[in-house]
Symmetry: C3
């Protein structure tokens, strides 16, 4: 239980993340702190939720995952801790964990309210440092989630767009664009069960051309686009050796249409 | 004494920080190294001093804080180590520690000159790797500051602008703009003792409007500006859900005027 | 053997590096993971090779260096591990290690093919997470390189431009521009044995002026250029307090001419 991950929109330019780490090490000097990312776009809960969901499962059991993308800090949104079969999650209850939790068996959800596990002075603007970091450090020392505060019935769900099967075509959308410019869609393998993967046409409305389906980037000619199931098991639109987001002018929310070749 | 923090302007694109960490781990394999930030603007001693001052106190006692923002590397500025009641600081004596040290009881200041605690070959351009990293590693193994070199009477002070009370108004200035665009001023709660916080007018000369004072970001309407005491206990100008620096065209050094509402 | 370094082009915005760290800690909970950089320009094997070569030697013996700049992921380029006298390197066999290995005594090179040391499901797009991270974790637990797979006779070499001595002048080129704008060339001290360092003229073709040679940045007047041997022992073109790359419009591949002053 010594591993604590941090996923925030605090950036790396300022000292915010370091202050959280100092607070954690003060309480739990044996913590192993791992950064997921601190470059979630400021206030973008959906992007933060995606980063948590894409990474949490690779960590050992009992890892404590802290995420803070918290535009409502200081208002009445609740700070929570959620225990699942394998992990504990701590952060603001604003949907940030809902994507990760939807794939897990949730055991218990508690409000973080026991001041014993907070920093002594609590700012109204930096709960990452004053509430979530100390609570996570206490959790990593073995304090059960149930001691953190009263039990809650549920956690906030994020609206997450699901792909639609419309007659003979599946309509999904871009949900994330990664650092390489790969445009990750909300389409997963199970959504394509009605299609023959070897005869797939991927269309980006607005661009005229259709894109082929492949297995790895270099299957396309250099500079050419392809669709493939990426490392998170979502269909992504990529360009071999290039930036699909920029070259195809893709942005989050853009529709992606799947149909049968020649169909 | 195993925790060593690093605060530099080396950036994260190159291998400079990694080289420092390798040197530290070579001498002290049990070091726990924590990054404060490596994105201090190149050569900006004041921004580095602010990052150190804002973060050092959150770390456990005996933490060794290394900071390297060192435009004078290789010239005659001195490398120093400073022991305070709770911490040790190591880096160039160019004012980088003065803001943090002004809030602490300084015990002793020594020049880093004992070559026994340096790397064997010392470059003229990278003392972070060749002097400060190995010295910090030796300090973390228990070598007292006094063995590092001759004692010094004082450390370099940084010019730090203080707010001025002019008749009925307080004139401060922007000293830092963080990643969210919050413009942190040099005004602290004690400077406002003559004012009623609930009847405060904050004026940014150049913009016509005055800004209200609040406690947390969402107290302002979405997209609206407010002033509040941020997590470092300085008055900051923020925009709920937005980037105050950009929206109000604020930059470091800009004046901020506090007066009484209706005054 | 607990230290594992990571050098990639994955960036810090997404969760890719974190997923690798999770996989490593799952197998080797005692690993000490150090980031070299994750901001190698996407797909730029030469820049990655330079970062590995510039940093590997500062780490303790038995450190495992993982590097993943891998535009050919999923194609037929081989995953390899290379044991030298002091270190182990793991990553794609595309030249990424050749610069570092050229300075070392290579003991053995093995293909990573024993699936026992991989993740159970192997994506076609993220071998950093599914092959290199788990293999490195097993290596750090003491599994010898020879158990990873069949032995290979050699590793891929990168084309690396060498400076040319043409009559009385040496012609080198810019190979890297660092975060401060220092333009690092391929010229090392041994290439200048025919010259008197105190009477050196450095010319950047295209700009009219010649640049003096110095020992440290502040030896030049503020805002003025100089050439000096930097911390990696390559000649670099710098501007005291400024960005040489931008001010002199230098880019990678640009020629740099060394001749004798007055010659």
């Amino acid at each position: 239980m010594r591993i604590i991950t941090l996923c925030t929109d605090f950036g790396l330019r300022d000292w915010f993340v370091a202050a959280m780490k100092g607070v954690i090490l003060n309480i739990q000097p044996r913590a192993i702190i791992v950064d997921i990312t601190h470059q979630v776009p400021a206030g973008d809960i959906r992007a933060g939720a995606f980063a948590v969901a894409a990474s949490y499962r690779f960590f050992p059991r009992h890892t404590i995952h802290v995420a803070v993308v918290d535009p409502g800090v200081g208002s009445n949104r609740l700070p929570i801790a959620v225990a699942t079969k394998d992990y504990t999650f701590a952060g603001p209850d604003n949907g940030l964990f809902s994507l990760a939790l939807s794939g897990q068996s949730v055991k218990t959800i508690h409000r973080l309210e026991n001041q014993k596990f907070f920093s002594k002075a609590i700012s109204r603007t930096f709960h990452g440092r004053d509430i979530f970091a100390p609570a996570a450090a206490h959790l990593s020392k073995g304090t059960p989630v149930s001691e953190m505060g009263s039990e809650l019935g549920d956690y906030q769900k994020l609206h997450w767009p699901m792909p639609n099967l419309e007659k003979t075509q599946l309509r999904g959308e871009v949900i994330y664009i990664d650092r390489f410019g790969n445009a990750i869609t909300n389409i997963q393998p199970q959504h394509l069960s009605a299609f023959d993967l070897d005869k797939l046409k991927i269309t980006v409305p607005g661009t005229k051309r259709s894109i082929r389906f492949g297995r790895f980037y270099q299957e396309a000619e250099s500079g050419k686009a392809l669709g493939l199931f990426g490392s998170t098991d979502f269909l992504e639109i990529a360009v071999n050796g290039g930036d699909a987001g920029r070259l195809l002018k893709l942005k989050i929310g853009d529709p992606i249409i799947i149909s049968a070749l020649g169909g």
